[in-house]
């Protein structure tokens, strides 16, 4: 290095990541979506992931919301799953019962997003109560459409912070079934699909042949110990654990300038 080194190099300093962990989760989730699929979207981070996919590799992605809007084309960020921006410019709008019975139960949803307060090693999710159902320590919102999305979408994705309390050995209540007690358990119940991936702020986890979670990739700079310490059971790791691909410049530009310019979800 000499004193004539051009100053422009400062801008490509690779030691500091130029993205936030939320941006990494959004771009990672977006890459799970394929063109021409129907996705049942949630608000917040999943919504950003779907809109990002639509503007990059999946222009024909159909965004469907549990409020009954079909192929929404929101001109701005929706503040809830029932936002009017999801109806204006949609291809269709149907009553809730029709959305759940014909679209979701009828097998017309390729991929659904889920969230929850607790997730176990088989991808079973609790969004109902912490503690005892009859005498809860914390009363959570409940299923909403989550149980039927988990049961009827062809595959599901979860985006969540990675913390030990969120990944306990056992969930306090199963709101939405994952692989139940293994892939066979899910099959016996006659449930369609199943969880595909869990994207956290530390890693991307997938399900092995038995339907149990393992860490597939770790985010840049994250160690196995960090992931293990934030998980409530002994987590398996892929034989060749790789580093999660990072957001590219165009992803970041779309997210920051067009999809969430006010930083509502990206912080």
């Amino acid at each position: 290095m000499t004193d004539t080194e051009p100053e422009a190099d400062d801008s490509i300093d690779s030691s500091e990541p130029d993205y936030t962990s939320t941006e990494l989760m959004v771009t990672t989730a977006a890459r799970e979506l394929r063109d021409d699929e129907s996705v049942l979207v949630g608000v917040g981070v999943p919504n950003l992931a779907c809109n990002l996919a639509k503007r990059t590799h999946a222009p024909n992605l159909r965004m469907i919301y549990e409020s009954g809007t079909i192929d929404s084309n929101p001109s701005s960020l929706p503040l809830s799953i029932g936002d009017p921006v999801l109806a204006t410019g949609a291809v269709g709008v149907v009553p809730m019962f029709e959305g759940f019975s014909k679209y979701l139960q009828g097998g017309r949803i390729d991929v659904g997003f889920l969230g929850g307060a607790q997730i176990d090693r088989y991808g079973n999710i609790n969004s109902t109560v912490i503690g005892d159902y009859e005498d809860p320590a914390v009363r959570l919102p409940g299923s909403g459409g989550a149980c039927e999305i988990a049961s009827n979408a062809h595959r599901t994705l979860v985006i969540t912070p990675h913390q030990k309390r969120r990944f306990p050995e056992e969930v306090d209540f199963v709101t939405s079934p994952g692989y139940v007690d293994g892939r066979e358990g899910r099959e016996e119940l006659g449930l369609r699909g199943g969880p595909e991936a869990i994207i956290t702020d530390l890693a991307v986890m997938r399900f092995d042949e038995d339907g149990e979670l393992y860490a597939e990739t770790l985010h840049p700079g994250v160690s196995r110990d960090e992931v293990q310490n934030a998980t409530g059971w002994t987590l398996a790791f892929a034989d060749d654990v790789e580093t999660t691909p990072t957001p590219d410049t165009e992803d970041l530009r779309l997210l920051r300038e067009e999809l969430d310019p006010d930083g509502v979800y990206l912080e």
Partner: protein
């Protein structure tokens, strides 16, 4: 609305204020609070702020729901206080999923003894609710869950426009309005605007509520504030954020109820009390649908 609620609702009734995020009957809910009912069984897929207000006002003894949160904001704190601590009174809960609850309404609207649904298998919800039962298919080995019909004593449904007979056009998210309107025993229709019957007949495919199901028709502009009416006004998101603060304690909710519910006689006074700039800011730009030709025959 005063007359409609007074005549339609009695203590102990099951009441469904319809509308999924959209067209929530806030004005009707406030009227229920003012008239001081007790022991109501409140039913809504998403209790939303309106049931948080009704629960804090002490009118409810039971709540049937499928997702109890402040949409896009966080918790429903009054609902949680009632469930977790019995404040201001304990409430029983009857919990479903969105599909399960709307299926109950669909069965009620169609006169069926139950509705089969592909959901609940593998979930702990059936253990907590005896209305969610596993049944065998009469046509094979398949097992499926079933839920019974739900026919609330009283429902309030809203629409952008309706005629004096209660035939109503809804556009935007219909939610569970079409099911509730046909499942409930007594139906109050509240509209942003009463229009001539010919307006309804000019576009029959847009009619989601038939007048034959409706017992009372009320014209109440902005009757859904702070939720929204597609094309008329947007959700007052600030109010949803403010509720998160107001609902931090039972005392601060009571203060709010004193000012905004007990302190006004009807929705007109409520609107006069609101800053008119605030309402103007909620007005969306226009985006007209292309007219269709029904054809004259």
């Amino acid at each position: 609305m005063h007359t409609a609620i007074d005549q339609a609702v009695s203590d102990g009734d099951s009441v469904y204020l319809a509308g999924f995020t959209h067209l929530i009957p806030f004005a009707a809910g406030h009227e229920i609070v003012r008239q001081g009912y007790t022991d109501l069984h409140l039913i809504r897929a998403t209790p939303d702020l309106i049931y948080d207000q009704l629960i804090a006002a002490g009118v409810a003894s039971r709540v049937t729901f499928s997702w109890a949160g402040n949409p896009g904001v966080g918790s429903l704190r009054a609902f949680r206080r009632a469930v977790e601590d019995g404040v201001p009174n304990a409430i029983e809960i009857d919990e479903y999923t969105h599909f399960g609850l709307t299926a109950r309404l669909a069965a009620g609207a169609r006169g069926l003894p139950f509705m089969p649904v592909r959901t609940f298998a593998g979930s702990d919800l059936p253990e907590q609710n005896e209305n969610i039962r596993r049944v065998e298919s009469p046509f094979g080995d398949d097992e499926i869950y079933a839920v019974p019909p739900l026919c609330p004593n009283v429902a309030v449904v809203r629409a952008q426009r309706g005629d004096v007979s209660g035939n109503a056009h809804v556009w935007g998210i219909p939610g569970e309005i079409p099911e509730v309107a046909l499942a409930a025993e007594t139906v109050i229709l509240s509209v942003e605007e009463i229009v001539d019957e010919q307006v309804i007949r000019s576009d029959p495919n847009r009619t989601l509520v038939p007048g034959s199901a409706v017992d009372y028709v009320v014209e109440e502009p902005y009757g859904s504030h702070p939720s929204y009416a597609q094309g008329c006004y947007d959700r007052d998101n600030q109010a949803y954020l403010e509720w998160n603060e107001i609902s931090e304690s039972q005392a601060s909710i009571e203060e709010w109820l004193d000012e905004w519910v007990y302190g006004v006689t009807d929705r007109r006074e409520y609107l006069e009390k609101l800053d008119s700039e605030r309402l103007l800011d909620l007005k969306p730009s226009t985006e007209y649908a292309t007219p269709i030709d029904m054809g004259g025959y």
